[in-house]
């Protein structure tokens, strides 16, 4: 009983230390756990894999800010690597002010890995545009009017990758990485109004929200959290930060489950003890 009482009164800083150890230990000593690829991730991979080299471009929308970088950046890089390795033209954009730097960083990081591909011909960075749905609707009407220049100020008309891009008819697919509901807006406008295919990568806590769209066929595929990113890395055979992070996430999940079980055991045991004590006291009171 004393152990259970200790659990109930345990200083939360002890929990913090346990979580820190659970995160750090697998990063220092990797467990190399096998990663199982789920269907939504495979669907997105297949959708991109089917696109032909030097075909219509894919829009990669980096709609997240630095707070969700650990989860969303690995999947952005994985999808970009997949597109670049297949020589699928990529238009990188963002609907968030804080996403501009991230979008550029992701594009430049992967761009450096593929020196055979060149900026402006094989990939382009369009920068930040305010107004979410207005930008998405604008692309449907006239891409060049919506984006008169790229993120560095070069006129869009001078960029070979954008020469034949008029609207969504000339876009193979939109893949949105977001920690917000931006993917829903892409579905509403790019997919429903203009018939463009949409795929999404979202944070783990948001993944369950996206399942109705996935089941309805409005999403081509879905990457959920770090595990989604790790699965995609496995599919393209390029292990990255997500694969490394999955060991830590595994251990932390198990730790949280153990904590929940212990918390419940302690709660019920002490409640029963309290109940027994109260009954005995009542019985004693009755006898007196």
């Amino acid at each position: 009983m004393s152990f259970l009482r200790f659990l109930l009164r345990m200083d939360r800083r002890l929990v913090f230390v346990l979580v820190a150890l659970a995160v750090v230990t697998p990063l220092i000593m990797p467990l190399n756990l096998p990663i199982e690829v789920t269907q939504p991730v495979r669907q997105l991979h297949t959708a991109i894999d089917r696109l032909a080299a030097r075909s219509r471009p894919v829009i990669v929308s980096v709609d997240y800010d630095p707070s969700t970088v650990p989860e969303l950046m690995p999947m952005t890089l994985a999808v970009l690597r997949h597109c670049f390795s297949k020589e699928i033209p990529v238009i990188v954009t963002t609907m968030l002010p804080a996403g501009a730097g991230l979008a550029r960083d992701a594009m430049e990081t992967v761009g450096r890995e593929y020196p055979n591909l060149s900026y402006g011909t094989d990939y382009v960075y369009m920068g930040y545009k305010p107004g979410y749905m207005l930008v998405m609707l604008g692309i449907g009407e006239d891409f060049h009017q919506t984006y008169p220049s790229d993120g560095f100020g070069t006129p869009s008309s001078e960029l070979p990758i954008l020469k034949n891009v008029k609207n969504y008819d000339d876009i193979a697919m939109v893949v949105d990485f977001t920690g917000t509901q931006a993917y829903e807006i892409w579905i509403m406008f790019a997919h429903q109004k203009y018939g463009c295919k949409v795929g999404a990568g979202v944070t783990a806590v948001m993944a369950s929200d996206a399942y109705p769209y996935l089941n309805a066929g409005q999403l081509e595929g879905l990457l959920g959290g770090l595990s989604g990113a790790a699965e995609y890395e496995k599919l393209i055979d390029k292990p990255g930060d997500a694969t490394v992070g999955m060991d830590a996430q595994s251990v932390v999940h198990i730790l949280v489950i153990i904590l929940i079980i212990l918390g419940n055991v302690a709660y019920f045991a002490t409640r029963r003890e309290g109940h027994t004590t109260q009954t005995a006291a009542r019985q004693r009171g009755g006898r007196e």
């Binding site: 939360r12 929990v15 913090f16 346990l18 979580v19 995160v23 467990l31 756990l33 096998p34 990663i35 199982e36 789920t38 269907q39 800010d65 630095p66 707070s67 969700t68 970088v69 650990p70 002010p97 804080a98 730097g101 991230l102 960083d105 545009k129 305010p130 107004g131 207005l134 930008v135 609707l137 604008g138 009407e141 919506t146 100020g153 783990a204 993944a207 369950s208 929200d209 399942y211 109705p212 089941n215 959920g224 959290g225 595990s227 999955m246 060991d247 996430q249 595994s250 932390v252 999940h253 198990i254 730790l255 949280v256 489950i257 904590l259 929940i260 918390g263 419940n264 709660y267 019920f268």
Partner: protein
Amino acid sequence: MVMLAQNFIPPLTWIYQQAIAWARIIASIALFIGLISLVRVHTTKLKRKVAGSQYSYVTLFALCYMMLAGLLTRYHFFVWLHDKSDAGSTGDYIVSVFENAFNFQELFLNIQIPIQATMFSLLAFFIASAAFRAFKARTFEATLLLIAATIVMLGRVPLGQMIPGISEITTWILEVPNTAAKRGIMIGVGLGMSSTALKIMLGIERTYLGMKD
């Protein structure tokens, strides 16, 4: 009503295109309003010397610094300065020092990303602590939630996926009960939005104009 009508009358499509262009301009102006609001809030705090107002100095300094860095980088100011100075000279070296100090992308990657990512990462510690303290099977509904959460947590990580059948159960939870509940909520929200939109268009709902009914 015009926007609704243009959907059915093709000659009116230009109104829609113009509306999109105008709305984008208005959205950009909203950013400036946000900027003005931020400056006003913090200057007021500094004037009133409220508790913690020293942090307003940090906010305003960071705002000005990043704005300056962004403008200098965007308009290639340092490239122009490099062109003006002799290569390898002291002036050129000083320009390089300032160029690094005002490199917008580097400032963003090395200051803002670590700060925001760290703040968000703290959630892991609080979630673990909160789950331990508050996630109790007190009622039938809470027990169901607890069991579902435990299975999904296990099924989403490699260590849990080693347990036979856990992946299949996780997929089923996400695709069947979760999707059913989400669809119900989404349809409810959609109907609510449509009815509110109709009430506004028909003039029944006028509170947004400052009227009581």
